[in-house]
């Protein structure tokens, strides 16, 4: 462990050394690392589940299993663990905890003890989710948990599902309060709201969305367990309930949750684009307001997940329009990202390779979302591979690449060492090509009618498009798998034997690079940091240097 975080910059109390110190830490950076470890572990588990499904779908007929329950268990684990265990903890856990407090010049999160509680709630959630693989009545109702299926005995342990979602929801809400307070009250002297890096704005907005919507999700899954075990009838039409209530409640949270993931990973892209191009973010203030605009815009679009669920036609048409309106703030963000390259001076570092991959995939992912927004088009592609391919392009390919870009970007500040640049670029290209071969052909299989969540497609065995797409997709899996494996090897090699890094290897202007040691010590800054008038995280031309308050111990002696 000493190679990992053993430096003691500035002679200040250093990083934890014993297991006890690691577990009972209140330091936001160590907690951030715990989030990251949990996220990567979840990524590995959910990735293995995805690989198993992909192998099963490689050809018509049973390939590695003919048991529908086992396949459905993989499917449930893949979706739930990727979203709740990997993406949200990586972004609202690792990025929010590790990066945000330093970026705003704070010495820690606002409530360090609450912070520690959040991370251990997450870990209990992850451990309980893994238990689902070994308990006799494994839950197989997908991460959506739609009733009435989730109220039957066939689904397995609904209580476990409800409990995990509520535990993770609590972790999110505590984390969100903490992060919002940190951004609002822990900013260093001189830093105004419009001097914050875009990552901070994105994470802050994502957490506001969490605070508004998570309670609805918690309520909806709590009612599931009340229905199933105590005989309440919220979702049971036989006693006057309504199965559609759940879908409305669930997507009222779970669509905004998409932006909880999207905004922070776009924030990482902004950071890396600006630093690599050494350029101001295009139209910074408008970009900030576009990020904030996601709060109201995302709150009124959930019906597009239920266009075919028998809701009234006027509601479908209304929310078709509100869904299309998402293109306004989102389009402005994409414009800002491209504009950040305009007249820049781009250095193609390893993280930049990952960020460009994320950006390219976001173009495809976002544009393939537009047809899905039209209720009438959705009648033809609802719950098909078209939808699956679209949201994997956004969340898995773009989101995944942006998260890994962030890990590579902040890696020198975590370990004091650099990952091999060549390996970083090679794995980025491999992941990019592999994921495109996995997800690209499936879009066309979806147009031909291939439904989601099918373990076999015997009914389409004469459809060459679908059979070939499944075949190619499985070939793409091998490339992706090897790239992801090499990426993890690159991290491990970098952490143990990588080249020693300087404090600011990428030439950034934000505080975590300019005002801290190679590995920030406890309290992040030697003494409280002050940003001078006119300082801006994206001013690469004549930015005034951050200042430090004099050390309280030294003033009396000199």
């Amino acid at each position: 462990m000493s190679g990992f975080m053993g430096h003691e910059p500035d002679g200040r109390p250093g990083q934890p050394k014993t297991v006890k110190e690691w577990v009972f830490t209140l330091d936001h950076k160590v907690i951030g690392v715990w989030y990251l470890i949990g996220a990567i572990a979840s990524f590995i588990v959910a990735g293995l589940a995805a690989s198993a499904m992909r192998l099963e779908l490689g050809s018509v007929g049973p390939d590695i299993t003919d048991n529908g329950d086992i396949y459905n268990l993989w499917l449930t684990m893949h979706g739930a663990v990727m979203i709740l265990g990997f993406q949200i903890p990586a972004l609202l856990g690792f990025v929010a905890n590790w990066a945000v407090p330093i970026m705003v010049g704070g010495k820690d999160m606002a409530f360090p003890r609450v912070n520690a509680m959040s991370v251990w709630l997450l870990w209990s959630g992850i451990i309980m989710a893994l238990m689902n693989l070994v308990i006799p009545d494994s839950y197989n109702g997908m991460w959506t948990g739609y009733p009435p299926y989730s109220l039957t005995d066939a689904v397995g342990n609904t209580a476990l599902y409800s409990f995990i979602v509520i535990i993770l929801g609590m972790s999110s809400v505590f984390g969100a309060v903490n992060l919002a307070c940190t951004v609002a009250f822990m900013r260093c002297k001189g830093m105004g709201w419009f001097q914050m890096p875009l990552t901070v704005w994105c994470v802050f907005t994502a957490n506001v969305i969490q605070l508004i919507f998570v309670p609805v999700l918690a309520a909806s899954v709590l009612l599931l367990s009340l229905d199933k075990y105590l005989g309440f009838g919220f979702y049971n039409p036989e006693v006057g309930g309504d199965v559609l209530l759940y879908q409305n409640l669930f997507w009222f949270y779970s669509h905004p949750a998409v932006y909880v993931i999207l905004l922070p990973f776009m924030g990482i892209m902004f950071e890396i684009f600006a630093v690599s191009a050494r350029n101001d973010v295009f139209n910074y203030k408008a970009t900030v307001w576009s990020v904030i605009a996601f709060i109201p815009v995302s709150s009124d679009v959930w019906v597009h997940h239920a266009y075919v669920a028998g809701l009234p036609d006027w509601l479908r048409l209304l929310q078709t329009f509100t869904t299309l309106l998402i293109s306004l703030p989102f389009g402005l963000l994409m414009l800002s990202l491209t504009g950040t390259l305009f007249r820049g001076t781009i250095r193609y570092t390893g993280p930049m390779y990952w960020a460009i991959g994320a950006f390219m995939m976001l173009i495809i992912g976002a544009l393939t979302g537009i047809p899905n927004a039209l209720s009438a088009i959705d009648y033809g592609i609802s719950d098909s591979y078209v939808i699956m391919s679209h949201f994997h392009y956004v969340m898995a390919v773009s989101g995944g690449m942006a998260i890994f870009a962030g890990v590579f970007f902040w890696f020198p500040k975590l370990t004091g060492r650099l990952c091999s640049a060549a390996m970083t670029k090679l794995t980025a290209v491999g992941f990019f090509i592999g994921m495109n071969i996995v997800m690209g052909p499936l879009y066309f299989a979806g147009i031909e009618g291939m439904p989601r969540r099918y373990m076999d497609y015997a009914m389409f065995e004469n459809n060459a498009t679908i059979v070939d797409a499944q075949h190619w997709s499985t070939i793409g899996l091998y490339i992706t798998f090897v790239s992801a494996l090499l990426m993890i090897v690159t991290w491990l090699h970098g952490a143990i034997a990588g080249e020693k890094s300087s404090a600011n290897p990428w030439g950034a202007e934000s505080l975590e690079f300019t005002a801290t040691a190679v590995i920030p010590g406890q309290g992040n800054f030697p003494t409280p940091v002050i940003v001078p008038e006119g300082w801006h995280p994206y001013n690469f031309i004549d930015n005034p240097k951050p200042q430090f308050e004099p050390h309280p111990g030294t003033s009396g002696h000199h």
Partner: protein, 256 residues
């Protein structure tokens, strides 16, 4: 000064230009939607709107990608100490770079919305002469009962050229009835009756699958829609109804 502010207003209002083609299209297309579609089937209509949407997003995507690629090549770092030279935007330019792109996006949104609105009306207005079929979904079976009382599992036989409306309900969990050829999906659930209609315009079989996760054999829940000529259909009805037990035989069977 006055001239300058006037010019700003003129230039600003130019931003509204992209709205004009969309609105014009809206006014032109909407009344047509309410008239007869002249034999244009909903799924042909769907294919056309899908195609137009695909062209729309492909053009945007290719343009955007080309611009980004151009930037990535032109603005690569050549010297070590170089700094980016993004021009400082004037307040008007900052606003313009919000309003103008938003108007463009909104224009495209409205353009697509109108197409989708028209198609929605087409797909959701049932012709008055539609034959009604009752569909019950259960784990893991599609049960069709048509107007003649013919009760079949996982296969529906319909005559060509006659619209069909399905009244759907589920016995247990959610299912979703998707007809591949007719580009149509609608959920089945307990406690609510949902419906969808389609126009069988071509002879032959097409695939039906379930599109809402429904447990172990979700992937085994598929069937066919078989479209036959009117003569074949009449023969089919005669054959099937002959085997439907009459009330007398049912009553006598009940005694035992």
């Amino acid at each position: 000064m006055k001239f300058k502010s006037l010019m700003h207003k003129v230039i600003g209002s130019l931003a509204l230009l992209p709205l004009i083609p969309s609105l014009a299209h809206a006014f032109q297309a909407a009344p047509a939607a309410r008239a007869d579609y002249n034999g244009w089937t909903p799924h042909e209509h769907w294919d056309e709107v899908w195609h137009e949407t695909m062209v729309d997003i492909t053009v945007i995507g290719v343009l955007f990608t080309l611009i980004t690629f151009a930037f990535m090549i032109i603005y690569r770092r050549k010297g070590h100490g170089e700094r980016g030279k993004l021009p400082k935007l004037s307040p008007q330019a900052k606003l313009g770079w919000v309003v103008l792109p938003c108007m463009l996006f909104l224009g495209d949104d409205l353009f697509l919305y109108v197409k989708g609105f028209d198609l929605h009306n087409h797909m959701r207005n049932v012709p008055t002469d539609a034959a009604e079929v009752k569909l019950t979904g259960s784990m893991w079976n599609w049960n069709y009962v048509d107007a003649n009382g013919i009760d079949t599992d996982n296969e529906l036989v319909v005559p060509v050229g006659k619209p069909v409306v399905l009244r759907m309900q589920s016995d247990d969990v959610l299912h979703s009835h998707y007809m591949n050829r007719y580009r149509l999906t609608e959920d089945l659930m307990p406690g609510r009756v949902t419906w969808e209609w389609f126009m069988p315009d071509q002879l032959g079989e097409s695939v039906v699958t379930c599109r809402e996760y429904c447990g172990t054999m979700h992937s085994g829940m598929y069937g066919t829609i078989n479209v036959v000529t009117q003569e074949e259909y009449d023969a089919y009805v005669a054959e099937q109804t002959a085997s439907i037990p009459t009330e007398a035989t049912v009553a006598s069977a009940a005694k035992f």
